[in-house]
């Protein structure tokens, strides 16, 4: 339903008076989301995941690449047709307080999209608003409240109700629970799962937290420094993570499960500067398996096994696959 092809987004930033640099926030990524599917996009800060979400809705104009929604290219649409199109796609942001107008009552906030798109008015509008609120677990008593009278979790529910007003086909959720406490987060995650099942919506779930992504996602894409490094269905990714970065990410997440001791991989170094990312594979300076080739060439995202995509030389050619060796010696076949 959604097809993203070689999407790139570069930002120009001014450094000092005369120097201009290019930040490559998103640097050539492709993926698709099927109808009723949840794609999880995981990555650390600065990996470009939010930019991907915004480019899909054209809240940011992509530098190059295309986004197709039901085979219609979004990139070529004019203002008016884009607005029509956006009815089908909605976004939920991280901080619910800044997504709601503090002077608007819940009733008006939820009714606004219906009014703008002339979907309902009068009594029908009232009914629609109430049923939307009920679908996210709120009720009558919340209609006349202002955002400051709601808790964080309730605010996020209002935001979700508002995005559902126009029956979208795609929801882009950008860190929907990271401003919330664990017990409230669980409520919102359950709500999203119910809504997704009931309304058969496709979702792009953006988060830095793999455990949340695992809870909701059908397939998971892992981003690092503007690129997708691994893409697979949820089970496969957790059982058999192949990219060294995914493996490190999985081991770095603290979990209150004791069980068999998981392998702890602590990465050295920091996330690369997107203005001047490392040559070759962007992960190579921190990678425990880096080879000489990794510094020179950039690995492509390749289908290794049944829709499991990995961008890593360790796996790209069968002859060079060393999935379990702790440290790879330098290979001679390169160059």
């Amino acid at each position: 339903m959604i097809q993203v092809k070689d999407l790139r987004k570069y930002f120009n930033v001014q450094i000092g008076i005369l120097r201009k640099e290019v930040v490559r926030a998103v640097d050539g990524i492709s993926f698709h989301i099927e109808r009723g599917e949840v794609l999880g996009l995981v990555g650390e800060s600065g990996s470009g995941k939010t930019t991907v979400g915004k480019c899909i809705l054209r809240l940011e104009e992509p530098t190059s690449g295309e986004v197709f929604f039901n085979d219609i290219s979004i990139s070529g649409l004019d203002e008016k047709r884009l607005r029509e199109m956006r009815r089908n796609m909605q976004m939920v942001f991280q901080d619910p307080s800044s997504s709601l107008d503090p002077r608007m009552k819940v009733r008006d906030a939820v009714a606004e999209p219906l009014r703008i798109h002339k979907q309902a008015k009068g009594k029908e509008l009232e009914e629609r608003v109430l049923s939307l609120l009920q679908s996210v677990g709120l009720g009558h008593e919340h209609l006349n409240r202002h955002p400051h009278m709601l808790s964080g979790g309730q605010r996020q529910r209002v935001v979700i109700a508002r995005t559902l007003a126009l029956n979208p086909k795609l929801l882009v959720l950008d860190e929907p629970t990271s401003a919330l406490d664990v017990s409230v987060q669980a409520q919102i995650l359950n709500l999203l799962r119910d809504l997704q099942k009931r309304l058969d919506i496709s979702m792009l779930l953006i988060s830095h937290d793999l455990s949340i992504i695992r809870h909701l996602g059908d397939r998971i894409a892992v981003m690092y420094s503007g690129k997708i490094v691994e893409l697979a269905d949820e089970e496969r990714l957790f059982d058999n993570a192949m990219h060294p970065y995914t493996q490190a990410l999985l081991s770095a997440i603290p979990t209150p499960e004791f069980g068999p001791k998981k392998e702890r991989i602590v990465l050295r170094g920091e996330i690369p500067n997107p203005i001047n990312p490392p040559h070759g594979c962007r992960f190579h300076p921190r990678c425990p398996h880096a080879m000489q080739r990794c510094a020179k060439e950039e690995p492509k995202l390749t289908n290794i096994d049944n829709e499991h995509y990995v961008a890593c030389f360790l796996h790209s050619e069968k002859s060079q696959a060393y999935p379990n060796s702790p440290l790879c010696s330098i290979t001679t076949s390169a160059a």
């Binding site: 406490d181 017990s183 937290d209 455990s211 809870h215 999985l250 979990t255 069980g259």
Partner: protein, 321 residues
């Protein structure tokens, strides 16, 4: 407990508001043994940070400590004069905060701050202070420490700033380090680095740590003991595996089952019904009773006191499961 370094007993802290005196901490009890890492866990507003600030006597001026005592090596910190507590801050107890950016003064270099701390606290000369600073930065695995001393905070990344903060906190080899959400502002892979570092360095310096976090996973992987807070009280306290594998308090159980797991996938997460109570009008009896599925009449009327289970595992609940 035989080797208690710090014990907080029945601490009650109130704030005057337009609605009257509000008890933000309502009888907090904690024990921290020497050279142990204690994880203090709870959701927003349960009083984790306030407990930490009380230990250092850094509470906001409107706060009133109404009852309780905080004993650090047989001295009640609440009885000390302002100049005595200043001697303790930084030297015996020091603290690392959540957001390193707002605690590092932007107009001083890392070196200036570190040297000032050492000169004022340990009465040593400048040359020795520089050497000690470099040694500490090296312990925190910061590359090229001589250069770091000359840098301003804005020239450091988030992870590096937090390492510098930890270095400053540990400069005078305190016996107790309070780390308040030290990795919440950082990315997961950087968080793993910092936590590993804290674990290693406190073993080396034989420092005890009070690690405040909202993340049960961090506690499971880094702490030896855990204390769970709810609405200004500690509801469960014990060895980490006991608390997280055999939780006795319904709130601890609820918190654990509401956390999405990495290795077992569940269709729906179990949810604790209701929300955190208001401090202005707290529930009677056990503060968790309105949200608790095990609650009986007694829970509404009386406040449960800690019941001891095996090896120092305490649970404040009438209905321990």
């Amino acid at each position: 407990m035989k080797d208690a370094l710090l014990s907080v007993r029945n601490l009650r802290v109130c704030f005057p508001t337009t609605y009257g005196l509000v008890a933000a901490l309502d009888g907090v009890c904690l024990e921290l043994e020497k050279e142990k890492i204690l994880g203090l866990v709870g959701e927003t507003g349960c009083g984790k940070t306030l407990t930490a600030l009380s230990i250092l006597r850094l509470l906001p001026p409107s706060a009133r400590i109404v009852a309780g005592e905080i004993v650090l090596r047989k001295r009640n910190l609440l009885d000390l004069s302002e100049s005595e507590i200043r001697e303790i801050r930084g030297k015996e107890v020091s603290m690392v905060f959540q957001d390193p950016t707002s605690y590092l003064d932007p107009v001083f270099t890392v070196g200036e701050v570190m040297i000032e701390v050492l000169e004022s606290r340990q009465k040593i000369g400048r040359r020795e202070a520089i050497e000690a600073s470099i040694e500490m930065l090296t312990k925190l695995r910061l590359p090229n420490p001589e250069r770091i001393l000359r840098l301003y905070p804005h020239e450091l990344s988030g992870g590096m700033k937090q390492r510098v903060m930890i270095a400053i906190a540990l400069l005078c080899h305190p016996e107790l380090l309070i780390a308040d959400e030290p990795t919440t502002a950082l990315d997961v892979t950087i968080q793993a680095q910092i936590l590993e570092l804290i674990r290693d360095i406190v073993k080396e310096l034989r420092t005890s740590v009070l690690l405040i976090t909202h993340n049960l996973g961090i506690v499971a992987e880094n702490c030896e003991e855990a204390a769970i807070m709810y609405a200004g009280t500690v509801v469960e306290h014990g060895e980490v595996r006991d608390v997280l594998e055999k939780p006795g308090h319904p709130y601890t159980r609820g918190l654990l089952s509401a956390t999405p797991k990495l290795f077992q996938k569940k269709e729906t997460l179990e949810v604790i019904p209701g929300s955190i109570p208001s401090l202005i009008d707290p529930p009677s009896g056990c503060k968790f009773h309105p949200r608790c599925s095990y609650a009986i009449g007694k829970c509404k009327r009386e406040r449960p006191s800690p019941v001891g289970l095996e090896h120092g595992h305490y649970v404040s609940c009438f209905r321990i499961v």
